[in-house]
Symmetry: none
Subunit: 217 residues, 2 copies
DNA sequence: GGGGCCGGTCAGGAATTTCCCGATTTGTGC
DNA sequence: GCACAAATCGGGAAATTCCTGACCGGCCCC
């Protein structure tokens, strides 16, 4: 029985490369590709894959929030995070969001294949390079040992922050999220209050540091 | 006759993915992989490939400097830059360093294969998404005074851009520069028009890339 | 099960900023 | 002198932000 995969990454060459590699495995079938988090969520709904291979930083909707959406709607789906960063921050957030695996982009392909088979069996996988922690350190929401020095932002707030940092206007964000512009304003206000930042420029830099967006447009 | 390739990218999964894809092409053979710029230079010396597929941002020695080394020692070698960024800045630097091609990481694989064949024939290749310029615009131009190949911003405009990216408001900037707020507005407007960016978020990212401000608060 | 709190949603209206026109002045190059 | 870009500023309409208040549904806690 083969494992059905959806790949989410904002770089087409990466998607196609992974697809090509995975396609050579007998027991793994790539059934879809998404180029951002939002597409990943939609594709997962439509195609019901066993495993989603998810880039952490993507435009529109990042891998962390996308994972949260996916897990909340289809808890059986396994998500493997694929990241450039070995920061505990990212690792922690991904596992809290419900990921089952985490590995780095400079892993060998064998490791990815192995991770896929592992999570498909309901086990978790962490890249050796970043272990030294156990999943338990992350999975349980112990608010006490917050890694970030920043006030905790709600999911919605992070989502809005990301879109602001991508250059979108209030109305545009509202439309994308099917919200009133007023609600988006409120979220922005809360963001500014919580972070003690009162300009889009500062919010953007913060979002970049947090990996919610990247420097390229 | 087949084209011999060296791939340089700091992400092993990307290298392996590209390798897998390229290996399926009859006329292309991947003869080596490097995980940073320094290795790319060494490998090129040893293996004498026809084409090097070079990631622009790599640790240790970046793609631009690596390209410069390679071209200066083996001018016959062709380098194709592979980048996340569509900034003209990077494009310009790569071509000045001696690259023969430039394409984005979210290109389709077909485009990469096509680019490889193109540069192997001594022609240059620029990804459609970033063309609209010709290589001549970059290859031997001044490079004297300005660092960036972007539409020239006036001194005042850069000054205003920097302050915007630092999170300052229009009135604050006006006060600092002893100007009317209206004048600052005009500069902002000109910035947006010239750069084709219509949000503070985008301007901020641009300013960071240009070194006008930094990520830290 | 009542009370408190938080996240998420939205509105009204005032305050502020942006946006789109135009205008003047100065310097630079031809 | 003439053309042109840079720099400066204004008027007024349009859009956005800011502030305050409000409602609902969970959730936790005693």
């Amino acid at each position: 029985m083969s494992v059905h995969i959806v790949i989410a990454d904002d770089h087409k060459l990466m998607r196609e490369g992974l697809s090509s590699l995975l396609g050579q495995q007998g027991d793994i079938v790539v059934i879809g590709q998404a180029n951002n988090g939002r597409e990943a969520v939609q594709l997962t709904e439509r195609l019901d894959p066993d495993v989603v291979v998810m880039d952490v930083s993507m435009p529109d909707l990042n891998g962390i929030d996308a994972t949260r959406h996916i897990i909340s709607r289809r808890p059986r789906t396994k998500v493997i995070a694929l990241s450039m960063h070995s920061d505990r921050q990212f690792v922690a957030e991904m596992f809290r969001a419900g990921a089952s695996g985490y590995l780095l982009k400079d892993s060998a392909f064998e490791e990815l294949a192995s991770a896929i088979r592992t999570v498909a069996k309901n086990e978790t996988y962490i890249a050796p390079k970043i272990s030294g922690f156990s999943v338990e350190d992350y999975s349980n929401t112990n608010a006490g040992s917050e890694l970030s020095a920043f006030p905790r932002l709600s999911h919605r707030e992070r989502e809005v922050l990301q879109m602001i940092a991508e250059g979108k206007g209030t109305k545009e964000i509202a439309a994308d999220l099917h919200l009133s512009a007023k609600t988006v304003e409120t979220h922005r206000q809360h963001l500014m209050d919580k972070l003690d930042m009162y300009s889009v420029a500062e919010l953007t830099k913060f979002a970049i540091r947090e990996g919610l967006t990247t420097l390229d447009h």
